[in-house]
């Protein structure tokens, strides 16, 4: 797959490459190999192989203290038989769907504002950075910073009571599904904003003017022009958000106060209990399901053009 192609200065019939040409291509190819090699090796070592190990271990047997190399399907069968599995997946999928929707709406509007309403490039970059900087600070801190905010004695409740809107603290704000979703949105909206911002920034502004010229109102312009042309960014952002939520265990543990669980948090429990094979099987199933979701998104929108610049 060529990412940065140079176009040829000619256009005619094909001819088979000469030996000289092949030699030229080869030396360029070899250069690319040793340039990308280190990165690929590191990823294979610390990602590729470990994933294969997980796959292998998912078929192992285990005792209270050890894992025993074997090839059994018991871990998978237990997973499929257990009602808990279904509940966990429903819980994770529920979170993923809600968070996806909220971050999509937020992300789209923020990107739209930055691209089409902010006129000065300096302001665009500045405001974009303002959104991005929190992402580069600690996720856990940002997550737990909601606790004093949403708690029974937290700021939000105190403000509401002080303004006379409520007489009792709102319990559902913290250690609930609501808190989990708030935290997810807080942490992951940026992953929607950036790809959509990218897609929108490529839209030729004169297209919007042409649409206005033809009589389209503000909302029609968005629906007919901006939305379709941002499809790739939306797809990429969706992939990020969905995989992040499905793969999370820390946020859901903390913010739900232990009431809700996700697939991965259950997996983390198994790991803590040294039950590696079931955890591995759970991981494999999760990867398959998330891959299917991602493939589904990619089927709807072809992102390769965007990634290949």
């Amino acid at each position: 797959m060529a990412l940065f192609n140079q176009t040829a200065d000619g256009a005619m019939d094909a001819a088979p490459p000469t030996a000289e040409q092949l030699a030229d291509d080869r030396s360029g190819e070899r250069a690319s190999w040793w340039q990308t090699g280190p990165l690929v090796v590191v990823l294979l070592l610390f990602f590729g192989l470990p994933m294969l190990v997980v796959l292998a271990v998912s078929f192992f047997d285990f005792s209270r203290t050890d894992i025993i190399p074997a090839f059994i399907f018991d871990n998978y069968i237990d997973l499929f038989r257990s009602e808990v599995t279904l509940r966990l997946y429903l819980s994770s999928l529920k979170f993923a769907a809600i968070v996806w929707l909220v971050t999509l709406v937020l992300g789209f509007n923020i990107a739209y504002f930055l691209v089409f309403h902010v006129r000065s490039l300096l302001w665009q970059i500045g405001l974009f950075l303002v959104c991005t900087v929190p992402f580069l600070t600690s996720n856990i801190i940002r997550m737990i910073s909601w606790i004093p905010f949403l708690g029974r004695n937290g700021i939000f409740n105190q403000a509401l009571e002080g303004a006379g809107i409520t007489s009792q603290p709102l319990e559902f704000l913290l250690f609930s599904d609501f808190a989990v979703i708030v935290a997810y949105v807080h942490l992951f909206t940026l992953f929607m904003v950036v790809p959509i911002f990218n897609s929108m920034a490529r839209i030729d502004k004169s297209l919007l003017e042409a649409a206005r010229d033809a009589g389209a109102g503000r909302f029609r312009v968005v629906a007919e022009i901006v939305l379709p042309l941002s499809k790739t960014g939306i797809a990429l952002g969706s992939i990020f958000v969905v995989t992040l939520v499905m793969g999370d265990s820390f946020v859901v543990r903390t913010m739900s106060g232990g009431q809700s669980a996700s697939v991965v948090s259950a997996l983390q429990n198994e790991v803590a209990a040294l039950q590696y094979p079931p955890a591995a099987a759970s991981a494999v199933i999760m990867v398959i399901i998330v891959t299917l979701m991602v493939a589904g998104i990619l089927r709807l929108v072809d992102v390769r053009k965007e990634l290949a610049r």
Binding site: M1, L3, F4, E29, A31, S32, W33, Q35, T36, P38, L39, V42, L43, L45, F46, F47, G48, L49, P50, M51, V53, V54, N109, I110, F113, H117, R119, V133, P134, L136, T137, S138, N139, I140, I141, R142, I144, S145, P148, F149, G151, I155, Q158, H186, R218, F240, M246, G247, D248, S249, F250, V264, L267, V271, Y276, A279, A280, A283, M286, L307
Partner: protein
Amino acid sequence: MHGSDEGRPWTFYAFAAFFGLFVAFLYGPMIVIYVLSFQGPNGGMTFPLNGVSLHWFSALISQTRVGDIAGSFQRSIGLAALVAIITVVLSVLAGLGFRRRFRGSAFAFYLAIASLIMPGLFVGLGIALAFRLLGLQTAWYTTGLGAQLTWTLPFGLLIMFAVLGRFNRSYEEAATDLGATNWQRFSEITLPMLLPGIIGVALFGFTLSYDELARTALTAGSQNTLPLEIWAMTTNVTSPTLYAVGAVTTVVSFVVIITALTSIAAIQSRRARGKQSEQSHG
């Protein structure tokens, strides 16, 4: 584009208000924590502030009950620096390699993307299992490092794609035309021109490693990194010391971020200076 002397439509103000709310949403809770970290010695974990003091900050350094803050902090900084350097070198090289068409480029690309979206716990699990099967111990500077690289390398690669996409190769050709060898061309022209992007990669490499939790959780070995310490604190610390830690670590992040961003801005402004001066059409 709207005319520069046109008034702004009402939607601009609506969007701007919306954006302002979002920024408040992003920063508000963090500011709450920073304020609370100055809680008085007898204060609790929420408002109201019971006096203002640096009590909890000093508790960080003195008390060992809260965990090994100083040690984990040092480890995290060192690890982040190491990750940043490795990420820069490998991502820049790989980015340059991807400029050509080559067999296996699709495989390498999808490998990086897969590594990016794989849940961190799984990657950590895999590494921990692999090491366990081999009878080796995990440690923050071996497996922890490797696990974090699976997160930072794809980011670095994507940033390099964006930067190289804007990079006009005729500068490199001109350098060759003027007699530069491959190395001279790289060191005199390519590298300096890519410098802002490279700083960006280093920035991401550092901060992503410094804050990384999921991948490090199972691969850090017996000594924690700072995020792991903080995570442990969230479950068993019930004093504003936690907020003090949060404030300190965020300040460190901010220092790094602002240093990187200002150096990028300095480089860009020096090179673009004079764009407003008289020019004919390109």
